[in-house]
Symmetry: C2
Subunit: 348 residues, 2 copies
Amino acid sequence: MTEKTTFNIAVVGATGAVGQKIIDLLDAKDFPINELKLLSSERSAGKKINFQNKELTVEAATPESFDGIDIALFSAGGSVSKKLAPEAVKRGAVVVDNTSAFRMTEDVPLVVPEVNNEDIAKHNGIIANPNCSTIQMVAALKPIKDAFGLDRVIVSTYQAVSGAGNEANKELEEQSKAKLNGEEMKAELLPVKGEEKHYPIAFNALPQIDVFEENGYTFEEMKMINETKKIMHAPELNVAATCVRLPFFTSHAESVYIEVEKDGLEVADLWEALKGADGVVLEDDPASQTYPTPLSAENKEEVFVGRVRKDLDQKNGFHLWVVSDNLLKGAAWNSIQIAQSLIQNKWL
Amino acid sequence: MTEKTTFNIAVVGATGAVGQKIIDLLDAKDFPINELKLLSSERSAGKKINFQNKELTVEAATPESFDGIDIALFSAGGSVSKKLAPEAVKRGAVVVDNTSAFRMTEDVPLVVPEVNNEDIAKHNGIIANPNCSTIQMVAALKPIKDAFGLDRVIVSTYQAVSGAGNEANKELEEQSKAKLNGEEMKAELLPVKGEEKHYPIAFNALPQIDVFEENGYTFEEMKMINETKKIMHAPELNVAATCVRLPFFTSHAESVYIEVEKDGLEVADLWEALKGADGVVLEDDPASQTYPTPLSAENKEEVFVGRVRKDLDQKNGFHLWVVSDNLLKGAAWNSIQIAQSLIQNKWL
C-alpha cells in the first residue's frame, strides 16, 4: 500500500469568519490537498467560493458528506460538531474541532501544537482546538512554565468582536456608524446571540462573553480556566479569568498576571525564555514605545508579548500583555497546525 | 464678622473636558457661588461660556487672577498647577487640584470624599484630586476594606479616550470615520501627546497611558499604585496595575482582583458591604445579564460595581468589575465634592 501524500479535506462552516480563514490558509500554506469539500448549514449551501483558481460550491453538511474524507475541520458551532463530528469519525475522517463541544471530553486531546503537540497522537478521531483566548495565553505561558515553573495565572481579556462571528463585526460597524452620525445604536446580537438582553458594543465594553454559569463566571471565563489546565497538563495550576468584549474587529489582547516557581527572576529572564519560543514574538521596549496592539497583530500568525514587568510586591510575580489574531492563531491557524502535525507525524 | 455663605470660585482650565463638566456641576448642584471666574491658557482666553443665564468670558490665568478667590478648581495640566496653584494659595484661595502635580506631596491631602474626607481638614492650601482610574477603584474598595480588611489588589483597566482630553475624543471620532470609510487612520495624539510614536486608538487597544517610568510601568500605572496606598492610608497594601486605553469616549472600567483579610466570605458578603456604601451602586445579577458598562455609567456620578465573583482557587480572593464616568466621579464631581466638603465642614 502506497502512503498517501495528498488528502481529502472537508471544511465545515466554510462561510463563517473562521472557515474563511481556514480556506485561505489551506491555500497559503500549500496544504497537501487531493480534494477540498466545503460544507455549511442548509442556509449557506449553494454559495460559491474560489479556491486555487477553481470555483467550489458550498454544500449542506450531512453525515454522508464525510465519506472518503481524511481530515474534517469543524468551525460551525458546538451543536453542529456534536451532531456531525461523530459521523465524520465513523466514516474514517479525523476531526479537528474548533468548537467547545469536545474540549473537556477526557479522551479528546485539546491541543496548541507549540504547547502539547504530542497529545495529538492519543486522539480517537477527534482533536479539539482550544478557545481563542486560551490558545494565545498558553502559547505565551508555555516557555515560562518550562523554564521557571508556574503557580498562578490571573487574566483580564480584551477580546475582539470577530470572536462572535461575521454578524458581530457587522453589528459593530453599523452601531459605530450610527453613533458617529448621532443616531441611536441598535443592539440585537451581542453580548450573546439568542440571550434576552443585548447591549451596544460600539464605543463600549461588555463584561460578558458567552452565557453565565451557576458560579457567576461566564462560560468563556470557565473555558480559559479549565482549558489552560488541560492543555498545560497542570490540574493544580491556579487560573482566574475575567473576559471582556471590546469594540475592535480583530485580535484579542490579554493582561496576564503570573507567579512563577523560581525565585529571584528579573524581566530579562522572562524575555530570554520568550525570545526563543515557538510561535511567540517578543515586542517589548518601553523606551521606544514598543508593544503589541490588536491592530499590529492583525493577519499575523504569531502570539505577541510585551509590557513584561516584575510585580512590585510579590517576589515571583510578573505582568505580561499578550496579543494575537483571534481568527488565526486563536482559531484557523491553530487548526491547520494540528492538521499539519497529523500528517507530518503520521498520526492520522 | 459674619460668616460667608457664598464664595468666589475660579475654574482653571475652563474650556477643557473636565473644566466644562465642573462648570456644569457648579450649576446643577446649586453651588453657593458669589462670583465665578473662568480661567484658561492664553490660547483659549476670550471664549464665551454661558453660566446660569449669564455669558462669562474666559480669561487668561495669571497670579493676579486669584485675588479675592475663595476656592480655585484646577484642571489645566500639571505644569499650570505647579506654576499657579502656589500663587492662588498665596492670595488666600484654597486649591482643589485635578492634576498629578501635588498628589504625592506629603503635606497635600489626596482625597476621595467617600474614602478619606477627614484628610481635607489637614490641608495647607492645596487638596489634590486623585487620578480618575484610582478614584473609582478606591471608592469601590473602601467598604470592602472597612468590613473585611484588604491585603492585595491587582487591576487591569479599560480606560476611555476622554481621559486624554477633548482632542483625543476628536481623534477617536476621526479615526473611526476614516476606518469605516476604508480610509487610512491618522494617529497624531495618542497614546501620549508629544511622545515620539502615535498609534491609532479606533478599533484598537493601547497598553500605554502616560509616559513610561524606569521600572517599565507607565506613569498611569504608578499613579494607581501609589495613590491607592495614600488615599487608603495603607502603605503596606499590595497594589499592581496594568492600564489600557480603549476606543470609547466616556467611563473607565476596571477588572479588579482583590484578596481580603477575613476568611470564609462569600459573594453575598461583598454585595452586602457594597450595597450600603456611599457613592457606590451595585449592579450585579448574572441571571438577568445585569452589570455596568461604560455606556451605562455615562453622565452618572456614582461608581458602579458588578461581576463580583469568588476566586476558584484562593480562599480570600474575589473579582470585581468597576465602572464610572471618568469625567464626573473620576474628575469634576470628585473635585466639586471636595469643594462642598471644604464649605460644609468649615475647612476653608
